[in-house]
């Protein structure tokens, strides 16, 4: 009988301290997420120094909880997996150095995982039978990528943002509308009360055939609109602005993902990352895919947020190929997916 592979995974790239035990890449035995969102909310965004301090305070307990819930012993582990980028460098370092200490102490390999790659693997956890190839949109606070997932660990980036990430545009617009932080869920919520066609914000498709994104211009248009309204002394309807802005973003995201799926003959259009939790994106994508006979896949909300289970899943497929990392691995804030 083939031996089970158990991986302890750690993720600290932003403001969630998370640890998970994943068996054979797909079975999540535990997935503990300690969110700092309530702490950062009052500052209106993630404060790097505060995030790093909290990660260090919480990491050991989070790992203990993950171990206890999984009923595993340290001797049952085959590898330690950890996110080493992209993300806030000070935050990444806590998870990375703790992981190195664990790997060194247990004398088992360390497997460094790219955070964006991790988000894709949330879908392998969600859908136990899902196999590559397929086309996936990874969109979150820091990233917007359309990725052709050819095989485990083999990716072709079809498109990426040329300026702001989708989630970042959400945060900036939410801040301008004084909705608070984090912007994504707040805009999603208030948009349900607004009219998506109230304001005709531009949709930036860039040049023909490009799968790249650009949200910087849209962000400027929203700012312009608000300033113009203010100068004219007109009332600003936050719900309408949010809904129209959101529609512009998700329309482009959904269109490009569908086109990419058609070009690559992918039977699935797969969503991953924090923005994948946006209800309007899911709805619109489902509509557009129906016409083209493409199946829409997305993970549960808990797997859309930053979590260690997805890192453990990605690490499994590296581990079985012998792709382990040196204990001199560095944290890279803008780690790119193309290796």
């Amino acid at each position: 009988m083939k031996k089970d592979i158990n991986i302890l995974a750690i993720e600290t790239s932003c403001d969630e301290t998370s640890s998970s035990i994943v068996k054979n890449g797909r079975e999540v035995l535990s997935n503990i997420i300690s969110s700092q969102i309530d702490i950062h909310k009052k500052f209106g965004g993630v404060v790097p120094e505060v995030a790093s301090r909290k990660h260090l305070e919480r990491i050991s307990d989070v790992i203990d909880l993950a171990m206890n819930e999984s009923k595993m012993k340290y001797k049952d582990l085959d590898a330690i997996a950890v996110t080493y980028g992209p993300g806030l460098v000070g935050a990444l370092l806590i998870g990375l150095t703790t992981a190195k200490g664990l790997a060194y102490g247990l004398n088992i390999p360390l497997v460094g995982v790219n955070h964006i790659e991790g988000h894709i693997f949330a879908n392998f956890i969600q859908y136990k039978d899902l196999e590559p190839p397929f086309v996936c949109l990874v969109a979150s606070g820091g990233h917007s990528h359309i990725i052709n997932v050819l095989n485990y660990g083999n990716y072709k980036i079809m498109g990426r943002t040329r300026d702001d990430a989708a989630g970042e545009a959400f945060d900036k617009v939410a801040r301008t509308l004084e909705l608070g932080y984090p912007g994504g869920p707040l805009i999603d919520k208030i948009s349900k009360k607004g009219k998506a066609d109230a304001i005709d914000f531009p949709r930036s498709y860039l040049e023909e055939g490009s799968y790249d994104f650009s949200f910087s211009g849209l962000k400027s248009s929203v700012l312009n609109h608000i300033n113009t309204m203010k100068m004219k002394g007109l009332e600003i309807n936050a719900a309408d602005i949010a809904a129209s802005f959101q529609e512009s973003v998700v329309d482009v995201l959904a269109d490009k993902l569908v086109w990419a799926a058609i070009e690559k003959k992918s039977p699935y259009a797969v969503l991953a990352g924090g923005v994948a939790a946006n209800s309007r994106l899911r709805e619109l994508l489902t509509e557009k895919c129906k016409e083209n006979n493409i199946k829409v896949l997305y993970p549960d909300p808990i797997l859309c947020t930053d979590n260690a289970a997805m890192i453990g899943s990605a690490a499994y497929y590296k581990f079985i190929k012998g792709e382990t990392s040196s204990l001199n691995l560095n944290a890279i804030p803008n780690l790119s997916l193309s290796l």
Binding site: S60, D64, G90, T97, T98, K100, G101, L102, Y104, N330
Partner: protein, 377 residues
């Protein structure tokens, strides 16, 4: 006994292993590169050089600050990770003590200074009495000119060390005739000093588990400092002109809010009532209302504006009404809370209230029960 210690609190990284009272190996690296990359390799080198493995170590130790925030965290994460994997205890040693220990045997005063940026240093004044390190004065984070001024009255030799010396040696030399400076080998924290102090702590029984290690940054993060400056919460008696704001919060908090008239009566006409408000950012963040009846306090309503929830304001209000009840010589406090309002129930329980009964279907809107809570004073 085998102790493995590291220091990553300044630009240099070091690791040392003391076995049965003698230093077996010390590795000191000051190459300007990042600690995160090398720290495990350095630890491994030191352990292997002594012919040991990580699992043979009895106690792991690291410096806990002050120092470079990132450097300290890298060191602490590495040590915590190893100790957690092996189930071994750890000790944390304050960096200023580590520095002082570099000069064991020095007869005068020892003044470590660690760069705290913006012309400030972290500093404590020490003296050795025999082998024991005594703390003479703790300066915390201090402007370098103020430190020099505070050291003026001391006649003994004062030995300076730490990375602050690289920045302020001339300034100190020009102002203090009794200033001495550590030689180049002792100027930065050394892991062998961390290990020596760890043994002392071990003998005193000061051992921790990996989850209990806390760094002493001395400083709060700047974002918190700014936040607290802008968001001081003060609690004062409610005034009549504040009724409008309080009614708004009441409306945002309850299904059957009290009207303006109710509050007007409470503030202006009811002699038994006592109302307080929590103020921050120049507005009212929350309020609490009470009646003082014989020797009991009845809490009528407590609410916090949605913008200010989860910031401990509710707790401050509860603490304040308890104070008022005590000062007024009352014997107990009582209140009613909705069965479903878990957050509030937790808040009251935390402050010593106990559930002692129900009022069935007390709330007309949902038919929910009210829990009656009491606190004896």
């Amino acid at each position: 006994m085998k102790v493995l210690a590291i220091d990553t609190s300044t630009v240099a990284a070091s690791a040392a292993l003391i076995q049965d009272g003698s230093l077996c190996c010390e590795y000191f690296l000051n190459d300007g590169k990042k600690h995160s990359e090398k720290i495990i390799s350095i630890i491994d080198y030191v352990i292997k050089s002594c012919g040991l493995e990580a699992k043979d170590i009895d106690v792991f130790s690291c410096s806990i600050g002050p120092g470079s925030f990132t450097g300290l965290r890298v060191g602490a994460s590495a040590i915590k990770g190893i100790a957690q994997a092996l189930g071994k205890p750890i000790t944390g040693i304050p960096t200023l003590e580590v520095l002082a220990y570099n000069l064991r045997g020095f007869k005068g005063l020892i003044c470590p200074i660690i760069d705290a940026q913006r012309e400030m240093v972290y500093s404590t004044l020490f003296r050795f009495e025999g082998d024991t390190l005594l703390k003479i004065k703790d300066f915390s984070a201090i402007v370098i000119d103020d430190l020099i001024c505070r050291l003026g009255p001391y006649d003994d030799d004062i030995a300076f060390l730490g990375d602050g010396v690289f920045l302020y040696q001339n300034k100190i030399k020009n102002s203090l005739k009794n200033a001495r400076f550590a030689d180049v080998g002792n100027i930065l924290p050394r892991a062998s000093s961390v290990a020596s102090l760890a043994i002392i702590k071990y003998k005193e029984g000061h051992l921790l588990w990996y989850n209990d290690l806390r760094l002493d940054y001395i400083r709060k993060s700047q974002a918190e400092v700014e936040y607290e400056k802008n968001h001081i919460v003060t609690i004062v008696n409610m005034k009549a002109e504040e009724i409008d704001e309080v009614v708004e919060i009441e409306g945002l908090s309850f299904n059957n809010p009290w009207s303006y008239e109710s509050f007007d009566f409470e503030i202006n006409k009811n002699n038994l009532s006592r109302y307080i408000v929590a103020k921050t950012d120049g507005r009212i963040a929350g309020y609490a209302g009470t009646w003082l009846v014989f020797d009991e306090m009845h809490v009528t309503n407590i609410a916090v504006h949605p913008d200010y929830r989860n910031r401990g304001i509710g707790n401050k209000l509860v603490e304040e009404i308890i104070n008022i009840a005590r000062e007024s010589g009352l014997k107990r406090i009582t209140l009613e809370v909705r069965n479903s309002n878990n957050q509030a129930i937790c808040l009251y329980e935390k402050n010593g209230f106990k559930a002692e009964g129900f009022r069935k279907k007390y709330y007309a809107d949902t038919g929910e029960d009210a829990i009656i809570m009491w606190k004896e004073l």
